[in-house]
């Protein structure tokens, strides 16, 4: 009873404001502390994830750098993270350009599918595909990344023409791909996203011989977020 009497007294507005401010301050301090403490690890994790994905789709890559399409050319991105308008260029140990890793994003069976595929412009060859994010049905739609046969179809696929997904077993042309039985829609969505991304990017890619050069900037070297990839990383094997 006495407690509730206490409550009934109106605290001054100053107290309200002050307590909010103090709480805000303390919480700000705590948050920045945890942020700093985990900052590097998280950055590493993210970079590794991206790296692994790029590795999967572009074999023999040792370095990569993020590019934007600006003013009709590809320029090197400065941003830490990754966004939809980015494309990745892969380089071998010598820093020689190998190919691009292109993102695709769009509606799947259930929700948005986000994927990455490798592309060698000079050979017009698709080198592999990886799903970054999807909420497709477990057991059905998730075969787009679990079914190795399906994933394998995008390795060394010649991109002369838009890809077409056909019912499993009825593949009769080079540009066709066997869809997954029971997940035809997801497979078709994957193909559709790839075609769309390909159409978006292929005219923008630098013409033969003028591939973006790998630049080891000061920033990239210094920070752990560098787009540089440690060649010793065991994950390299994935691409094969």
């Amino acid at each position: 009873m006495s407690q509730s009497k206490n409550y009934e007294q109106e605290p001054s507005s100053n107290r309200l404001v002050a307590s909010m401010a103090i709480a805000g301050f303390i919480s700000g301090v705590i948050i920045i502390a945890i942020y700093l403490a985990t900052f590097n690890t998280i950055k590493d994790n993210k970079a590794r994830e991206l790296r692994q994905a790029v590795f999967k789709v572009l074999p023999n890559v040792s370095y990569m750098q993020k590019l934007y399409f600006e003013n009709n050319t590809l320029v090197i991105a400065k941003s830490d993270g990754m966004d939809d308008d980015m494309i990745f260029a892969g380089y071998d140990k010598q820093g020689k350009f190998i190919g691009y890793a292109i993102q695709g994003k769009g509606a799947g069976f259930q929700d948005t599918i986000h994927l990455l595929f490798g592309y060698l412009p000079e050979k017009q060859l698709m080198t592999g595909m990886a799903i970054l994010e999807s909420r497709e049905t477990p057991g059905l739609g998730d075969k787009i990344f679990k079914d190795m046969h399906f994933v394998g179809e995008f390795v060394n696929h010649l991109m002369k023409q838009a890809i077409k997904a056909v019912k499993k077993g009825t593949k009769s042309h080079d540009y066709e791909i066997d869809a997954i039985t029971g997940a035809t829609i997801s497979s078709k969505a994957v193909v559709r996203l790839m075609n769309a991304a390909f159409n978006r990017w292929s005219p923008k890619l630098s013409p033969l011989g003028q591939e973006p050069v790998f630049q080891m900037s000061k920033q990239t070297q210094g920070s752990l977020d560098s787009s540089q990839i440690q060649p010793e990383s065991p994950n390299i094997q994935i691409g094969k």
Partner: protein, 223 residues
């Protein structure tokens, strides 16, 4: 001694008698959203435990200085701070699981159970009781999460904590890991819980009656 026992009581009540899921029906969103595997459930449960215990500790320590008008806002700031801590920690430590839990780690902030405990308990009790209560509640929540997660993972994927249980020929019940499965499983679990409580009540009643008749017979014998 006595206070220890009652603090212990406070903890125990969260496990069954005032179980946040089965009795209070709070925090349903994370409960259903992340229980498609036992591992996710476990991580979510532990994260919630951390946030609840931490914020209860803070709230009960500072309860004197919190003005009534902004108390909810302050609780939210406190809780959100802890959640941010958990969020970043998980992201750093177990990125794969963090990815699966998705938005539901930040959403711990909105779990009514946590705010509820601050209002209903931590703001009115001493630190010790508040913490014990928080532990009990979050353990109760964890138990429910695990129960739900296990059932859904066992049926839905044929495994538990990612350990395959039935071999390759098992036909998984896909729906269990889909949204309807969450609702249905929790509904049926709750049903079972109700049934069990009811049965227990009736059983206790019967025992009590039996006792009584024994007592009466005893009196008669004596007389």
């Amino acid at each position: 001694m006595a206070t220890d026992a009652s603090a212990y009581e406070e903890m125990l009540k969260g496990l069954w008698r005032e179980n946040p899921t089965f009795v209070q029906v709070l925090g349903m969103c994370p409960m259903l959203a992340v229980t498609n595997s036992a591992t996710n459930a476990l991580v979510m449960g532990l994260a919630t435990l951390f946030v609840l215990v931490g914020s209860s500790l803070l709230v009960s320590s500072f309860k004197r200085w919190i003005p009534k008008q902004v108390r909810i806002s302050l609780y939210i700031i406190i809780i959100a701070t802890f959640v941010t801590v958990v969020d970043y920690s998980l992201l750093a430590l177990v990125p794969a699981i963090h990815k699966e839990l998705g938005a539901f780690i930040p959403l711990i902030v909105a779990n009514c159970m946590i705010l509820g405990r601050q209002e209903a308990f931590a703001s009115k009790h001493s630190i010790k009781y508040a913490v014990m209560d928080a532990i009990g509640m979050s353990l109760g929540f964890l138990i429910a999460l695990l129960a739900l997660g296990s059932v859904r993972e066992i049926l839905g994927s044929g495994s538990l904590f990612n350990v395959d249980l039935f071999g390759a020929n098992f036909e998984p019940w896909v729906i269990m890991i889909l949204p309807p499965g969450g609702f249905l499983t929790l509904g049926l679990l709750l049903l079972f819980f109700n049934w069990f409580t009811e049965r227990r009540k009736q059983f206790l009643l019967k025992v009590a009656q039996a006792d009584q008749s024994v007592a009466i017979v005893g009196v008669k014998d004596n007389g």
